[in-house]
Each structure stands twice: as structure tokens, then as C-alpha cells.
Assembly symmetry: C2
Homo-oligomer: 237 residues x 2
Amino acid sequence: MSKKVPPDQNLKFECLVFDLYGTLFDLKSFARECDKLHKGRGEEILESVRQKQLEYVLTRSLVKKYRDYASITKSAIKYSLQKLKLAASEDRIEELFSAFLRLEPFDDVERALNDLDEIGIKVMLLSNGTQEMVDKLVEHARLSLLSEEAVSVEGSGAYKPDPKAYQHALNHLQIFEKQKIFYVSGNPWDVAGARAFGFEVGWVNRTKQSSFDDDFRDLTPNYEFQSLVEMKEMLLS
Amino acid sequence: MSKKVPPDQNLKFECLVFDLYGTLFDLKSFARECDKLHKGRGEEILESVRQKQLEYVLTRSLVKKYRDYASITKSAIKYSLQKLKLAASEDRIEELFSAFLRLEPFDDVERALNDLDEIGIKVMLLSNGTQEMVDKLVEHARLSLLSEEAVSVEGSGAYKPDPKAYQHALNHLQIFEKQKIFYVSGNPWDVAGARAFGFEVGWVNRTKQSSFDDDFRDLTPNYEFQSLVEMKEMLLS
């Protein structure tokens, strides 16, 4: 017997769109993989890789020179290993890149996706990763509920927080009212970008920041929560 | 007797445009000021502040929500102090911000500016800082040769590496051929942005990176040097 019920008529959103890295998937699992190869340096490598990925993505978006996210990620790994004076052979870079395809979802993800499915809310994933990176991650984590709606921005030729990347989600969903979307991210620059675009936005404060970034004071999230369980309760309250 | 000579007819550039932070001015002097207030944490604070400044500038440029660089810098300081679990009172933030107005120029700057002046090459400074921040720094460092040509991007309503910010330099100089400009920066994202815009670009590798960022392989500098002394020799060779 299906547990599905018709969508709650009180729900104001037609679809929840989730970010991937740092929102549904835990980058600390990348740091742990790094630790196996470079003992005690995993956190440092992770922090540098994330920073350089973002710098490359944002710079390339601004100067309109798109390059795929797998290549960007490998360059960010190479830069970080060199900066930290660690071995940066092609093999090592590929090894660490492959750890990016085996990230673990946060503990609350599977339950939240099931709950949303039962309520009847459509769910989509929008990631800066390439379609191949996204597919591999979703498959590895056995998140079958996401498999058909896990979308890379690459079709838009732009990266979040470029408005063109958020527009890509609307085009994919064939939804034309931005406020029908509830966009959820753990990354403040992504929250700010989605707000600037016009979505209603929830910030899942995974890193337990004491407050949302002061600089984005004109682009703050509509909702803030500590976990996706808390998010679901908030949506239904 | 003036030591000035007419511009060398063999020089291919009409003007040298310098970046400020990390190119002419040494951010390590900010770290040292931080160390006085937060012993042993200066480098960490600096690294976090620089990273967040860039993240805010790039994100705001992409979503077209301009905010002045003084405010961005204060927000980056606040974020960094909170993240590092250090006191982040308004007074402390102002104190560290004022250290940004007293940065020290690199050792080779005064000599390089004098040499370029003798050769007869026009020199300009183009900074993401506000005009007030730029003026205070140049005055504090007594770099009189720069005082009339130290320009903030704020008039353009955009930040480097947005093409509009580089265009601002051309408008200021009333030069209409991009290749008449030799643009010099210590920041790889700025080098990449200036190259994408169409300037000839020199990278002063202040941080002794083992190589230019792999990701910017299509936007590499035309010239690379370790110091401005080396740059001058290269220009005249």
C-alpha cells in the first residue's frame, strides 16, 4: 500500500531544490579520504580545495570563460597539494578527485527525502558539479529518489551563483514562478545567489556558523535550520 | 637637473597599471598588526580575511549587488574573527580595518616607481579598494608618484575581475587600445581577469608559487617575475 498522500494544499512550494556539496553531501568524508594518504592534513587540503574551487568558478563566471567542474576540481586539488608541499603527481590528483565521487550524504538526507516524497513535494538537486560527477555521487549513495532529478548546471554554461545557473532549475522543472521554489543550501554564497535570483531560500547551517555572513545582509535566507529534519518540521508547521 | 628622458621609442606600452593589495602593498603587515592583538593568530586571520573579501566581491559582482569595499572588508574581518573564536566587537573590527589603511609597500616599490618615472612610462594604480582606502594607503606610504593616478574601481560599479572594472582604467587614462597597457598583479585571479579583458599582463609572483594556477591555463600571464626590479629589467631588455 502506498503511503503517498496528495500534496498538502497549505504548502506554498511546488518543488524543493537542493544544493549538493556541503548541503546533502558531507565534504568531511573527502577530508577523511585525504587523511589516509596525507596523515593529519585532510582538513587543510579540504579547506584549500573548497576555497580554490570557488575562486575558479566565480572568476570564470565573471570573465565568461567556462571550464567544466571536474577539471576545475582537479586544478584546485593540484594547487592545494603544491601549496601544502605535498606530492602532486597526476595519479595522486586523480586519486583525490575520485574521493569527490564517493562523498557520504549527511545522516539526515535519506529520511528527509523519504518524508518529502510521502508528503508529495517534488524534489530536485542542482549542482555546480558535472552531470557525471552528480550521477556518480547519487548512485554511490543509493539515493534513488534523486536519480531522475539530479541536475548539473553545465547545460546553462554558467555556475551558481550566476543567475543563469538558477534559471536552469526553472527551465528543467518547467516552473515559471520563482517563488514556487524552495531552494536549500548549506553554502552562504549560494544562499545569497539564490536570494538575489528570487527564490525563497533555506540555509541549512551545517557548519554551525554563529550567524549568517554579515556581508550578505541584503541577501539573507528566508529560513534557517540546523538539519533537514528541522527543515521538514518547519515546512509543515 | 631633471633626470627624466623622453619615453623609449622601443617601449611597446603607454602605461603600467598596478594592482594594489598583494602587488604593491604587503598584506603580511596586516598579519603583523593582527598578531599584536591576537598573538600568533595573524596569519590565520589574514588568510581568512583575504578569502572572504574575494568570495564577497566575486559573488556580489555576479549577482550585481554592489557594496563598497570598506564594508566588505569589515564584514570579512567580522566573519574571520567569529570563525576563529576571537573577540569580534565593533571596536576590534574597526581596529583591524584601520590596519588595512597602514599596509607597508613591498621593498622594491619605491625604487621601481622612480625608475619607471625616469624612463618616462606613465604609471597608474587600479584597486578594488574604495577611493578613500586607496588614498590613505598611498599617502601613508608617501608614494607621491602614485598620488594622482591611484584609482578605485568604485566609479565603475564593479570589481575586478569583472571586465567593467578593467575598462575603468582605460576610461581614466583615455587610452583606447588595450594592448597599450601593461597590467601588473600579484593575484592570479586578477592576472586571469586582466588577460581575459585583453591587457598584456605581468604576474609578480610574490608568494613564490611553484607555478601559475593550473586552472587558469587559458589565461596565463604574458610575463612572470619575482620582483618589480626584475620586471623593469625585463621591460627594458
